[in-house]
């Protein structure tokens, strides 16, 4: 499942005020990210938070939220961004690479093996049925995340936000337009609207 609860909604457990007593080494970064990644059935974010904030105390909860907020607004897989930003903060570029390889390396091996198995046995009837069942549930989980993310917009009666949401949904989901084209229009538009709205609220 996607690491998608907006950063503000993350629960903030008791906050230790000082972080990073000793900055992690390269191997430590690799191992920590490999562990959270392999534990991360159904979303790595929760484990990342547990490992970085609660277990190793490399960051305070606030620092973690800020870092994640940054990675959330950057394009690309959030948690991958997080690994790079986090690793490089402590150990420069090698640190970023160590955390990244830890996060992505071991699961890629597993997934590649699964891909090979699927290519070989994907046509077997029992497996097809199992996968069909799993994907039904997986889609349901995705829909749950989407509705949970929509709640704040609905609660705030954010009509403009909901309109942008609907427009993107129609363009991509129904009209099946290419993503780059849609985003090249939607991003500037959405930023402009957000700016105007904030001015109006401030005025």
């Amino acid at each position: 499942m996607p690491p998608d609860s907006p950063p503000a909604a993350l629960p903030a457990p008791d906050i230790p005020t000082s972080s990073a007593l000793t900055p992690p080494g390269l191997l430590e970064l690799f191992v920590a990210f490999a562990k959270m990644s392999l534990a991360g059935f159904g979303g790595v974010l929760v484990w990342a938070r547990r490992s970085i904030v609660d277990q190793h105390r490399w960051m305070t909860a606030d620092e973690f939220n800020e870092t994640f907020a940054l990675c959330h607004f950057l394009p690309g897989p959030n948690i991958v961004n997080l690994s790079v930003v986090f690793g490089s903060r402590f150990r420069g570029i090698p640190g970023g690479i160590a955390a990244f390889t830890g996060l992505v390396g071991p699961p890629v091996v597993i997934v590649t093996i699964l891909a090979a198995l699927y290519a070989r046995y994907g046509e077997i009837d029992a497996l097809r049925r199992i996968l069909a069942g799993v994907s039904c549930v997986a889609v349901g989980l995705l829909l749950a995340v989407v509705s949970r993310m929509m709640m704040p917009l609905i609660r705030k009666r954010d009509l403009v936000g909901l309109l942008i949401l609907a427009a993107v949904f129609i363009a991509i989901g129904l009209l099946r337009l290419p993503l780059p084209a849609v985003l090249l229009v939607a991003i500037p538009l959405s930023i402009a609207i957000t700016l105007v709205m904030r001015r109006r609220v401030a005025a």
Partner: protein, 177 residues
């Protein structure tokens, strides 16, 4: 018609570009992956795409690894690696530089504004993902019912998603779906 370039290159630039446009993370990029893999390049069928999504959700690690599966189906192990690196690499470089930039500058209000502007976009994209996957997966009433039940369970309880995925697999095996 044989002017198709080496599929490895196609994988590399397709996912490299997608990486930079994947606002809202991997699950928001699923419609684009579906468009590219099923409609444009015919790398896989609708059904295979749904299967690959299911496998990626069941596997450990970040969800972005659905591209590993797509890459494998196109060009084996090399394809899997190239697709993964292409999808993660460019955005990782961007993340590195932006985080350094922001660490240096004083608190700018731009990140907050951009973030607020992107939230509805990424929800819209993920909604589109849900629709496209539901259209390929939920072709029967029981299937649609399982999807709805899973969504409600996920919203109402704190049940570990892995159990629900396993239950879905069992229902499928039993021939319910």
């Amino acid at each position: 018609m044989n002017s198709e370039p080496n599929p490895i290159w196609t994988l590399a630039w397709t996912f490299g570009l997608m990486s930079l446009f994947a606002v809202g993370g991997a699950n928001a990029a699923i419609p684009e992956m579906h468009r590219v893999a099923v409609d444009v390049h015919h790398w896989m069928t609708d059904k295979q795409f749904a299967d690959v999504f299911a496998i990626s959700q069941m596997s450990p690690g970040p969800n972005v690894l659905i591209v590993t599966l797509i890459g494998y189906s196109v060009a084996g192990v090399a394809g899997a690696l190239v697709a993964t690196l292409a999808m993660c690499g460019p955005t990782a470089v961007v993340a590195y530089y932006v985080s350094r930039l922001l660490a240096r500058s004083t608190r700018s209000r731009w990140p907050a504004i951009i973030q607020a502007a992107l939230v509805p976009l990424s929800i819209g994209l993920m909604g589109a993902s849900g629709l496209i996957l539901a259209l390929t997966t939920d072709r029967t009433w029981p299937a649609a019912l399982v999807t709805v039940a899973a969504a409600i369970l996920a919203l109402a309880t704190r049940l570990n998603p892995l159990w629900m995925l396993l239950a879905g697999g069992c229902l499928g095996f039993a021939g319910v779906i």
